[in-house]
Structure formats: C-alpha cells, structure tokens
C-alpha cells in the first residue's frame, strides 16, 4: 500500500517511495557490483532499486476491491494478495536489471513480456526520462512523464481494481493530497519533508502513514549520481542515510 512518485527538481529527475505495510517489516540494503536494492527481510521482495546504468524503479501494488474490503473489515495481516500464476513485475525485471542501460529498455522488457503480471504501478527512471507503467494481467499502459507523477494503489487507465474514492478511499485521497503538494517541491529537503508529511494521523491519506497501514521505510533515488537516500522507518521519525552505488 505504498506511495510512489518521480519528480524533476533543478533539471534532475528523482524517484521516491514510501513503503507502507499493515504489519511492521524490516528491510535491508543489498549493495552488489551491479545494483543497489532495498529488500524485505521477511520475503526478499525488492521495494526499490538502482543499477550502474542509472536506471531505477519503484512499484506499488494494486489490489482488487474485494481484497481491499477484506483488509479494511478484518484489519488483518493474514490476507495474502498473492494470486498463483501472476508474475511480480519487479522480480522479472531484476533478472536482467544489472545490464539495463536505460529506463526505456526496462519499459520495453516489461511491455514485451508474455507474462501475466501482478497488478502494479511501476515507475521507471533514468537521468533523462521518467515512465509510468500500469501493468495488469492482460493489459498495460506506459506514459512518459514530463515533470512529476504520483501513484498510489489504483490504476488511472486500466480497468482492474478501485475506480473511485468509495472503492479505496486511502489510495484516492492520498494521491490527491500528494498531487496538491508536489508542485511546490524543488529541493531535496522539501522532498524529504513531503515524504514525512501528515495532516491527520487518524486518517489514512497521509503520505507518511500511521493508521491501518504504516510507513515502514522511505527512499529517494538520484539516478544521475547513482545514489539513494534511505530511511529504515517512518520518515517523520527517522533520518535518511545516503547510499552511493559508486562506492
């Protein structure tokens, strides 16, 4: 239940993600020769990554309305969203990720795949271009982004999943709220403040969440300099630490 986005600040593109989970979850940084990944200690899932080519990704999940209802009714973590025979787009992407040289190449790889994907919003970025992908089992859409984009947990183009506020209030409200704030962001400190912001902790539309879902980590990726700022807890509490792929 994450908030992901990309923004152009001072002529450079940045990618960001607040990772939200119903239950607390620990992560670690995997730094190898070809990439830098944020990985879950629980199941090894990759929350975000950047490679030596300066290509980076983040993903947020889109789930069915039925499942959303179950989650909100039960407020439980034992509901799985994994549906057999669906491919996790990031798990597929990382099989070739170290060798990818541009965001477009990654887009091409995913769009050209014959896999039936787990419904996802994916943002891919390099130092020159931002692409927003909506990926589903049978259809996908990619759009190039000029200045900024925010994606939460619903599709804006594809049919699957929540369509309106009533289907999943948090996702729609969070996206609107984030979009209303993002235009004023033009520096890294402002972006960090944005990711740590909440107007009402009792509501679930904040960027930094502490309600049904809580933000367990936050990251900002700078593809040009091939570095990542990572906060291993809610960004309103913790501090971002810089990880550089070159070192």
């Amino acid at each position: 239940m994450c908030t992901i986005g990309a923004i152009k600040m001072g002529g450079k593109f940045f990618l960001f993600k607040n990772r939200d989970k119903i239950e607390p979850e620990k992560e670690y940084i995997e730094r190898k020769e070809g990439h830098l990944f944020i990985k879950s200690k629980y199941n090894g899932r990759i929350a975000a990554g950047i490679n030596r080519g300066g290509v980076a990704f983040v993903r947020s999940e889109v789930i069915s309305i039925d499942l959303i209802k179950k989650i909100y009714q039960k407020w439980s973590s034992d509901i799985t969203t994994v549906i057999p025979k669906q491919t996790h787009p990031i798990e597929l992407l990382v099989t070739i990720f170290d060798g990818i040289k541009s965001a477009m190449e990654a887009v091409s790889f995913l769009l050209g795949s014959k896999n039936r994907f787990k419904p996802s919003n994916v943002i891919l970025i390099d130092k020159e271009r931002i692409f927003s992908l909506e990926i589903n089992e049978e259809e996908s859409e990619v759009k190039e982004v000029v200045d900024s984009i925010i994606k939460t947990n619903h599709f804006s183009s594809l049919e699957f999943g929540p369509h309106e506020d009533g289907d999943y209030p948090s996702s729609f409200e969070r996206e609107r709220y984030a979009n209303s704030m993002i235009n004023g962001i033009d520096t890294l400190p402002k972006l960090k403040n944005f990711l740590a912001s909440h107007e009402n902790k009792e509501r679930d539309f904040n960027i930094c969440r502490h309600f049904i879902s809580s933000t367990v980590s936050s990251c900002i990726v700078d593809p040009k300099e091939k570095r990542m700022w990572y906060c291993d807890t809610s960004p309103c509490r913790g501090k971002y630490k810089l990880y550089n792929l070159r070192k």
């Binding site: 190449e105 259809e139 859409e141 759009k143 000029v146």
Partner: protein
C-alpha cells in the same frame, strides 16, 4: 546533376536557382510516419533493433561525407520548449559516422509540397540533438547540390535491412522496394487479386496516347469512357476515386488526386495516362466498437515477405471529420499495432514527442482482431502476386531493368526513373 544516396532525391542547379525533387517522398495518406512509428514500437516492445537497422538501411551506400535531409514536420519535435531532431535522424548520423564519413550538415524541408528552394533550410543541431537554429543558407544549398545526401522523407526500410548484412540482397531489395512503389508497377503486380485495391484499377488515356495493345491491361480511352467508368464506380457504392498519374513519379504526393464520386468530376483535369481506381475499396474499415476508421498496413518480417511480423494501422476518429476529407492524414490521431499474437498496442501520435503506449489483450477487441486477420488473409494473396511478379521478372537488376524498359514502352511506368534505378548498381 548530382545523384544522391538512396535514389530518393535529386537536386538540379538551374539558371533560376535550385530545383529539388524528392522521389518517392511519400504519398498523401501514405506511411511517412512509419519510421517514427517504428522507433516508438521498438521502444515499446524491443522486438528488434529496428531504428538502427532503418538508419543503416538509409546509409548503406554512403561513400562520401554527406548531408542529411529530412522533413522538418516529421523530423523535429518540441519537447519542453526545446526543439530536438528525431532519434531516427540521430541514428542516421551515427550510421554514417560508423561508416567512416562525416555528416556535413542537416537540411530540413519546411513545406513539403512547395518547390520553393527557400523551404529547404539548414538545421543546426548540437551533440544533444537540440536544434539551435533553422535558417535559409544559399551557400549550404549550393554545397548540398554538389554533395551526396541521405534523404529521410519516406520512412520505409528495405525488408532485408538486417544488421550488418549490407550485401547484394540488400541492394536488390532496396531496388525492388523503390521500383515497385511506382504507381504503375504496383498496379501491374497487384491487380490480379480481387481483394487488392488495384483490382478495379484501369489505365486511362486520352484518345490514342496509350501504347497498350495487350488486352490483359484494362484501359479506357477518352472523356466519355472515363465518365462512364466513374458513374459505374459510383453505382457500385464507391465513395471516392483516386487518380494516379503514371507518367510521373509520386513526388510529395504530386500526381495523385482524390475525387468525390458523389460530386461531378471534371474529366479534363485528369492527367494521361493515369491509373483510375477506387479509393480504399476494402479499407479503411469502420470497426464495430466505435466510429473509428482504420487504415491497415502489414509489416512483414525481415525474414521473408510472406511472413507478417506485425500489423500496423492508423486510426481516424470519424466524429472528428466534418466534412469528410479526401485526405485523411490530418485526422489520424492514434495508431494501433497487433503483434500477430495476443496483444494490441495503442499509441498516440508520435508527434507529441512523448511516449504513450497501451498494451491490451486482443480478447478485449475481438472485432479488431478478426478484421486484422481478414486483412492479412487478403493481403497475403497480394504478396503472392508480388512474389509471382518478381519471379516472372527475375530478381536480378538486369532483368528488372528489362522489365522496366518493357513497361516504359507501354507507358505503364514513369519514363524518367531509369537513372535512379542505376544508383543501386553503384559500389557493388
């Protein structure tokens, strides 16, 4: 006269200035955007490195430092207030440099239907592909007239433009591709199939101009006969007629005109000899799912003409057309591609400069898939005709030239292309 690369442009220096002819630059409603589309499709699906291949196809016989000439409308896009030349043009530059030659400069055509040399402008481009200036420069045009140039007006690629295989096959296919795009030759190849758009085409001539004694070439002579023919087409439910002047190359769409069969046609204005044929007898087709007209092209595999690789269609919103135009091009808003398998790819016009591509399962629009399948079925027969035509002619250049000369005697192909066909012999 300095012949330039690829046989697609000629520049003449005349006492009155420079006269520039771009041969096969693309017809009205033709596939000029195919190259741009191919770039986009390549980005979206990575089936093959088509852009590089197309660029190499355009430059396979570059032998000197040269200019790159292109259509400004297609080749330059404004993104965030900055103008850039297209990736295809960039790849052409790289391909020329890979061959060890320099690009002397970029020349853009501003108004493609104008012969005024002032529409040919020097485009200054920096290393980041940004356009720094566009200006008329007589000295540069003078140099262009004396130099070789790679012309990017017609964005089709020879089917054999496989990477690093610029062998005799490539040359032969380049020759064939350019040759069979002539209105008359196209008709000669493709009139045998009832589904072919050329099936009902006839050669029109005034009185005794046409030198055809072979009854297998349908022809009509004189104004009364053409009036009767047009009336017959109208009775058969045809809406439009297209007239292709086969005595000339199709230069920037010139020599091709469209007429509304519901309106009186002035026969006196019809050139002679000309092909007179229904406009889109089988396509574009209105789909069931909405008021959309689609104009379909099949893109064949590099491995063989009989193997469709994907289907490409231009989409026109019918509601946006009022009154119905003869030329649909300006109403084309979207493209759709079928990968011959399970997906459609819908794309916004590349002219916006930014990618927007939607991949949708064909199960979402079974009608469109059925339509594409039927088009393939029909067009495979056309391709069979072309293949048979090529077999008849043989596939070496000598036989092709013999065929061309025979057709020229019958006035069924333009009489002025001989020098250009010879270009494909150069360097081999």
């Amino acid at each position: 006269m300095i012949p330039t690369i690829g046989s697609e442009i000629e520049i003449y220096k005349t006492p009155g200035g420079y006269m520039m002819m771009d041969l096969n630059s693309g017809k009205l409603g033709g596939g000029k955007r195919l190259g741009a589309f191919a770039c986009l499709y390549e980005q979206a699906s990575e089936l093959e490195k088509k852009v590089e291949n197309i660029a190499r196809a355009y430059t396979w016989d570059v032998r000197h430092d040269c200019y790159v000439v292109f259509d400004i409308q297609l080749g330059i896009q404004e993104i965030e207030g900055t103008s850039y030349v297209s990736p295809l043009i960039h790849e052409v530059k790289k391909a020329i440099e890979e061959r060890g030659y320099m690009v002397k400069g970029f020349i853009g055509r501003d108004k493609i239907f104008s012969e005024d040399p002032k529409n040919w402008k020097v485009v200054e481009v920096n290393d980041e592909l940004q356009v720094k200036s566009i200006s008329y420069d007589e000295h540069a045009l003078e140099d262009l007239a004396e130099s070789e140039a790679v012309y990017l007006g017609c964005h089709f690629a020879p089917p054999s433009c496989r990477k690093n295989q610029w062998d005799e096959d490539t040359c032969r296919n380049g020759f064939i591709n350019n040759f069979i795009d002539l209105p008359g030759v196209n008709w000669l190849f493709m009139r045998g199939n009832q589904h072919s758009p050329y099936y009902n085409a006839v050669v029109f001539s005034r009185e005794n101009e046409l030198n055809i004694k072979d009854d297998s070439f349908p022809s009509i002579r004189g104004s009364d006969a053409i009036r009767q023919r047009l009336e017959e087409m109208r009775r058969q439910g045809q809406r439009y007629v297209v007239i292709k002047d086969i005595s000339k190359m199709s230069i920037g769409g010139r020599g091709i005109s469209f007429g509304d069969l519901d309106k009186p046609t002035t026969c006196e204005g019809i050139p002679s000899p000309a092909l007179v044929m229904p406009y889109f007898p089988i396509e574009p087709t209105k789909t069931n799912e909405g008021d959309v007209i689609i104009q379909t092209r099949i893109i064949y595999s590099f491995e063989g003409k009989a193997k469709p690789q994907f289907v490409f269609a231009k989409m026109y919103l019918v509601n946006g057309m009022s009154p119905e135009p003869y030329n649909l091009s300006s109403f084309c808003t979207d493209f759709v591609v079928w990968d011959i398998r399970d997906y459609f790819y819908y794309l916004k016009s590349p002219s916006r400069g930014q990618l927007s591509c939607r991949k949708v399962s064909t199960t979402k629009n079974k009608g469109l898939r059925r339509h594409f399948e039927s088009v393939i079925e029909q067009c495979m027969s056309d391709i069979g005709d072309v293949e048979r035509g090529l077999q008849y002619m043989g596939t070496d250049q000598v036989k092709l030239l013999e065929f061309y000369r025979a057709m020229k005697k019958k006035k069924l192909v333009p009489g002025n292309i001989h020098p250009f066909l010879n270009l494909f012999n150069r360097g081999k």
